[in-house]
Amino acid sequence: MAKKLITCTINGEKVENYVDVRASLTDMLRNDYELTSVKKGCEVGECGACTVLINGEPFNSCIYLAIWADGKDILTLEGLTDKEGTISDIQQAFIDEGAVQCGFCTPGFIMSSLPIINSDREFTRDEIKKNISGNFCRCTGYQNIVNAIEKTAKARKANKTRQK
């Protein structure tokens, strides 16, 4: 089957690779780049376990062709840790708030939360819920996930005002 040269930025690093035109972005990220935080849940856009940011917006990588990634800037959960492998504030908040049980949905939820915690605007709890409504969790009952996101968003805002 036809292969195509795809050049893109993944977690800040410029990469290129020949990919099968039939591959999903999930296939490419997991198989070619070993980014296994990108989960295969439903593979039909229903559960959000495969969520990554593409040019800053959350997408289900399972229903996104790998060839569409050409020229794009892609961020997966692996891109949130620093060089030493230390996890970020939002990941720590998920642990602290008990927002992780089996953990399968966690990377997807964290990726979907980034537009909220990176925003200068304050989000209400209902707005947070709306922003993560494309992600399913079978374990936690969601409340602790919302708590973790709310807490991180507040902490980041407080930090910014302190720095000003």
């Binding site: 036809a2 099968d20 035109v21 039939r22 591959a23 999903s24 296939d27 593979e43 039909v44 856009g45 229903e46 959000g48 969520t51 593409i54 917006e57 959350p58 997408f59 289900n60 229903i63 996104y64 062709l65 060839i67 569409w68 050409d70 979907s112 709306k130 922003n131 993560i132 409504s133 494309g134 992600n135």
Partner: protein, 295 residues
């Protein structure tokens, strides 16, 4: 891996139109949130695709010289909602498409794909019908302009002829100017669920805000295709804003629709929703326009 056969990749619209003519059985792939799902399920396995997702000329929103708002078909739902022209002039459309799926679906799903798939539950459809959208359908032989009202032929069937692509959706100034509207989606869940019923209303009031100058109503899932409720509109046009108005319009809407029983809801429940949503959306639209029932 997706199970499709050939993937044709046009560089521009022209080449896309040529390919559509050359490979009449190949399907147009926009955001893929309908097609890729069907390929995964096996229903479209082995198909050929013409990938237009990368064609930037088919993306974006602008205002033309005469005030017409032009929405290119590949514009994602989230970009429709966020666009300053939509926010200012047709907020009802932005609010309607903001109720589709979840955030990830709103980033990949395109407004063109939503109306070309021809399903009655498409959340942009009733609002685009209610704003009398005009479709630009292009083929290698030229451009055909068709009112969206005439585009739906049946469930999943639209009037896309041989070699044609949807290349633009237009809403004229006369259609949106001084109008206020409301889209109501009734579904089991607040997100990630398709509509049991959708109702989109917009009104323009008379200068003194005492009566309706022009009423428009569109429904989804109230018939095999998205529809305009013209009997209800006629009943409301020119009517004073009194308490009989809402019941009159809701009652007349029942003559325009033809809902069915499905696993989601019975025909009877849908008839109830048609009346109730029409009333509520009309009331809110009137209030947004600065009018008051019995005021």
């Amino acid at each position: 891996m997706y199970d499709f056969n050939n993937l044709y990749e046009p560089k521009d619209i022209r080449e896309a139109l040529q390919m559509k003519m050359e490979y009449p059985n190949a399907l147009i792939l926009a955001g893929g949130s309908d097609i890729l799902i069907k390929i995964r399920s096996g229903r479209l396995a082995g198909c050929d695709l013409i990938n237009i997702y990368g064609l930037e000329e088919l993306r974006g929103i602008c205002m033309e010289d005469d005030g017409t708002i032009l929405i290119r078909p590949l514009t994602s739902f989230s970009h429709v909602t966020a666009h300053p022209l939509i926010k200012q002039y047709i907020p009802t459309l932005g609010e309607a498409v903001d109720q589709i799926g979840g955030p990830q679906i709103r980033n990949i799903g395109t407004i063109g794909g939503n109306i070309c798939n021809g399903v009655t539950s498409a959340d942009s459809a009733s609002t685009l019908k209610a704003f009398d959208a005009m479709l630009e359908l292009s083929s290698i032989n030229g451009v055909r302009i068709l009112p969206y009202a005439e585009f739906s032929l049946g469930p999943g069937k639209v009037d896309l002829r041989e070699g044609e692509l949807l290349t633009g959706i237009r809403i004229t100034k006369d259609s949106y100017e001084n109008t206020y509207g409301q889209y109501l989606k009734y579904s089991m869940r607040k997100a990630m669920d398709i509509a049991t019923l959708g109702c989109s209303v917009n009104v323009r009031l008379t200068k003194d805000k005492k009566a309706i100058d022009r009423l428009r109503i569109g429904f989804g899932v109230a018939a095999p295709t998205p529809i305009r409720a013209t009997t209800a509109e006629t009943a409301g046009n020119g009517h004073v804003l009194d308490s009989s108005l809402l019941d009159l319009v809701a009652g007349k809407a029942c003559e325009d629709v033809n809902p069915r029983t499905s696993w989601r809801a019975s025909k009877e429940f849908r008839m109830h929703l048609i009346k109730e949503l029409a009333k509520r959306a009309l009331k809110t639209s009137i209030e947004k326009a600065g009018g008051k029932i019995d005021g």
